[in-house]
């Protein structure tokens, strides 16, 4: 090591705060006489590598994946026999943290008073049944989702609570936003803050749905575009009670609407919880 390298080594350590007082004195005496080392000193003390601002999607993407993984672990404990649905291509590409609002519409309708989409999708089961009930109400559901690129089998799993907040309310009034994690305290708080529509004027005929209905389950969206909703054991029982009989099928249609961003989508899921003899419970699940 030549003289310059020795002192430049000191200078490099000086900017890192690694020199003793004696070494600093030695360095200063040298650079007072040596232009080359003085240049290096000027350079090292002037280096300022400022931090760049990370793009906002870094935090968003990381937290979406983190919450998804948290939910996936939870969901894997409750997965059982699946009920398969399908959504349009592109739906599985949604990787987002979102809130879900689930709306139940109610009203005894004898197989008539349904939204056109519901009628279209329910036509087959309706043909087999003699009557159906459609209930008004809202269910708040929040979840975090992300496409699981690294685990094709698991896919992206959404899970959370489904809870009927009320019945006999208008669709607009049902739209209560939530952004809390499934089953978390904020969701409970939002639930209590919801307007009390318990004595609403709807023509609901199924008493079970006049009270709060909480259905815990897992909504999974897979890379191949299929969607699966699996209520957990308690949730399944709750749904059967609400439907007034055994549930033979849960079906859905998922519609993707224009996104508010590349990774955010608004789509609607219609869950048809079908009891072939008498009941047809239609659940509109809007995710945004």
């Amino acid at each position: 090591m030549n003289t310059h390298e020795y002192y430049m080594g000191l200078i490099s350590r000086f900017v890192d705060g690694d020199l003793s007082a004696a070494e600093i004195k030695e360095m200063n005496e040298h650079i007072a006489e040596c232009d080359e080392c003085r240049e290096f000193y000027d350079f090292c003390t002037a280096i300022n590598v400022s931090c760049e601002d990370a793009p906002s999607e870094l935090l968003e993407n990381v937290m979406a994946e983190v919450k998804h993984e948290t939910l996936t672990v939870s969901a894997s404990k409750t997965r059982k026999k699946g009920l398969k649905f399908w959504l349009p291509r592109g739906g599985a590409a949604i990787a987002a943290c979102f809130a879900v609002i689930l709306v139940l519409r109610s009203g005894f309708m004898g197989g008539v008073a349904m939204d056109s989409a519901a009628v279209e999708n329910a036509s087959a089961p309706m043909a087999a049944g003699s009557s159906a009930s459609l209930y008004n109400g809202s269910v708040k559901y929040s979840a975090t989702s992300s496409t699981a690129a690294s685990d094709a089998d698991a896919g992206a799993i959404y899970t959370g609570d489904y809870r009927v907040l009320t019945d006999s309310v208008t669709e607009e009034a049902d739209m209560i936003t939530a952004d809390s994690a499934p089953g978390s305290a904020p969701a409970e708080a939002a639930q209590s803050a919801a307007p009390d529509f318990g004595s609403g004027s709807g023509a609901a005929t199924n008493p079970a749905l006049k009270t709060d209905l909480r259905v815990n389950g897992t909504l999974s969206v897979y890379d191949d575009g299929s969607v699966e909703f699996v209520p957990d054991d308690d949730g399944f029982t709750t749904l059967e009670k609400a439907a007034g009989g055994s549930i033979s099928r849960i079906d859905t249609e998922m519609k993707i609407k224009p996104s508010t961003g590349d990774h955010y989508g608004i789509f609607t899921v219609e869950l048809f919880i079908y009891e072939p003899e008498t009941e047809l419970l239609t659940i509109y699940l809007a995710i945004e």
């Binding site: 350590r13 870094l58 935090l59 994946e65």
Partner: protein, 202 residues
């Protein structure tokens, strides 16, 4: 709140604590990755991967070292892997006589900059960034950890499993190389003849 305390909470599944950790460190991690790769897209990918690796490994995290040291070591590992992959791709391209050669060369600082300009490196940030990216990976990782991660010698030593003497030596070589390349490009003035250093060779 202290990062190590947040890490403990996050290890217990507290996602809010983890989110705070990400907020606290995201700019450093992203900048480190950016200086390593020179690509915003790659830096974002690497940053995301680093935080997710941390999240997954948190249950095994032992708070006997600073959280940031652990985090930056993970960033460094991912960057190193990234560099290896890119080097392999570049090697294949060269073997095939691909014209991608020119595109894969690190952009050196702008040589049109006036040598007489002020010696304020803040004004030369682009040139400095380019120069950092042209450092050899083993020098770059140490330099980035020190200058961006504000890590001490001992923390860098721990993170990279190096002797502290090696850390000091690499930092000196990195700084010397950066000075020379910026002098050559005219981004900073030079009153003394500079010797060629090869530490920038990739």
């Amino acid at each position: 709140m202290d990062a190590n305390l947040l890490a403990k909470r996050a290890a217990d599944g507290d996602t809010a604590a983890f989110e705070e950790l990400v907020r606290m460190h995201q700019n450093q991690v992203y900048t480190m990755a950016l200086r390593f790769t020179g690509s915003k897209e790659d830096a974002l990918d690497i940053s995301q991967e680093a935080f997710l690796r941390v999240w997954r490994a948190l249950p095994n995290y032992k708070a006997d070292s600073k959280f940031s040291t652990w985090l930056y070591r993970i960033v460094s590992n991912i960057c190193t892997d990234h560099h290896r992959k890119n080097s392999r791709i570049q090697s294949i391209s060269l073997t095939q006589g691909d014209e991608a050669d020119d595109e894969t060369q690190t952009e050196l600082p702008d040589e049109t900059q006036s040598p007489e300009r002020s010696f304020e490196l803040s004004e030369l940030s682009d040139a400095l960034k380019g120069a950092i990216e042209s450092l050899k990976p083993e020098l770059r990782e140490v330099f980035v950890m020190r200058e961006i991660g504000d890590m001490s010698y001992s923390e860098i030593s721990e993170a990279l499993s190096l002797e502290e003497g090696t850390v000091k030596s690499r930092l000196f070589r990195a700084r010397k190389y950066l000075q020379e390349i910026l002098q050559k490009s005219g981004n900073i003035p030079s009153v003394s003849p500079s010797k060629s250093m090869k530490d920038g060779d990739k």
